[in-house]
Amino acid sequence: MTPANLPAARRPVIAGLGMTELGRVYGRTAPRFAAEAVRLAAADAGLALRDIDGLLVSSGVSGGVDLRLQLDLGLHDLSLLSEMQAFGSTAGAMVQVASMAVMSGMASTVACVWADAPLSQGVSGSDAYSARRRVPEGWRGLSAAAGIVSPNQLYALAARRHMARFGTTSDQLGAIAVAQRDWAVRNPLAQFRDPITLDDYHASRWIAEPFHLLDCCLVSNGGIAVIVTTADRAAGLRQPPVWVRGWAQAHPGHSGRRHDAFGLVTGAATAGPAALRMAGVDLADIDVVELYDCYTYTVLVSLEDYGFCGKGEGGPFAASGVLGPDGKLKLNTGGGQLSSYYMWGMTPLSEAIIQARGQAGERQVPRHDLVLVSGNGGILDHHSTLILAAAS
């Protein structure tokens, strides 16, 4: 029995979305953002906090979002409570666990929350995310000694390999940055709303070649929560429910020690087909695509692995005019983590929910019945996929 053909009493849906102020928002800790996001999500759904009987929590680099969130929210007698961590794939993974909990009857209304507060006033985003070890030791210390300290460098190594193998170009990576900024221009939640050109892209400073600044995600403070419940329960609530129709994860487990596919193929290649199969739909049925975009390159390789184009053809595909608000493929319609807000897996998930509900305003995609959402964590080590469906 798949989630799509379960009786309504057991069919998992997303009934609430809570988003705090996002971006350079100071003076609040990650746990404060997390609690606020859950309160907002419950209110969005039309639920009281006491209706929540399951809570899944996670956080980014600043930490502190843990099981104590139950107490901060005054939640009593929970039947599900856990902290989860699969990096950028966590948001999708939390929705999956919450869905299985309501399918089994273990819980009826599960809040899933992610929050982070890496930015403090006067500190740049890159400094906020860089390693600060004092005396590097052991194997990790060897990497630090070499200067290998940032995901920017590790993803750059992956991207360079893709470029060398398939002929992917900087112009093609830049096309993704430009297209996503075009979407962000239409998104009032976005941190960067000025349009950019391919020339702006090339003129932006090098971070780790082949990555310019405009290949890289921004850094944000804030928190986002969603409420997963059953279709039955969601029927009487405030928002149009969004069905969680299919899902999958993939964790290839190569860890860079010897990995022929590094940079060339990601977990999306297995998680994508598995999630579509569970949902009982084809890739061609997908109306909106929200891909995890820590870097332009991550989008490009994910497009290939999900099958939107052939392996190695992500570059020409991205530069073909298919992206952006006027393009045929409705991809990262909020501007994503490159231009809008960096809430790890909650960025693609939140925009997917907004689009599926038809609440995206100026950037609303006309057809939004089926939405594919990806999450990616580590250095292409962890992948989650969700297939969401607008209730009809």
């Binding site: 590097p136 030791e137 990497s143 200067g147 290998i148 920017n152 460098q153 780790a208 020690r257 940079g263």
Partner: protein, 130 residues
């Protein structure tokens, strides 16, 4: 940017001792003969945990590289993944080369650097002598 210092821990003591005398140690499995990465605590082929050490030849080929730019005013450095002749990959600095000279598959050699008097020895890659 110069190499930073690094300290040993229990897992890396043998590796750093060998590096100090110009050897790069890999893991060898007496049970199946496979060579694993130095940081592997179990054989990457048969999962045996009774591993010994085996010196690498020092030959490698370039898998990928990035020119990493630090804060304004600092010199960029070249970081790479290289495949050792014995199979495992190693992530490290490349020195004595310009980015223009690099291409994937290029032959490299392991060299050894002492970042600071009280640091352990750090392996780097340099172009193989032509």
């Amino acid at each position: 940017m110069t190499l930073g210092p690094v300290a040993r821990d229990a897992d890396t003591a043998a590796f750093f001792d060998a590096a100090a005398s110009g050897q790069f140690l890999l893991r060898h499995c007496p049970a199946c003969g496979a060579i694993s990465s130095p940081q592997s605590a179990q054989c990457e082929r048969c999962a045996a945990t009774d591993l010994d050490w085996r010196p690498a030849s020092g030959d490698a080929t370039l898998i990928s590289w990035t020119v990493s730019h630090g804060k304004p005013g600092t010199e960029p450095v070249i970081l790479c993944i290289a495949e050792l002749a014995e199979g495992p990959w190693w992530w490290a600095r490349i020195e004595d080369v310009t980015p223009e000279e690099l291409s994937i598959g290029a032959p490299l050699r392991i060299a050894y650097r002492l970042p600071a008097p009280d640091s352990e020895t750090v392996p780097v890659f340099v172009p193989a002598a032509t």
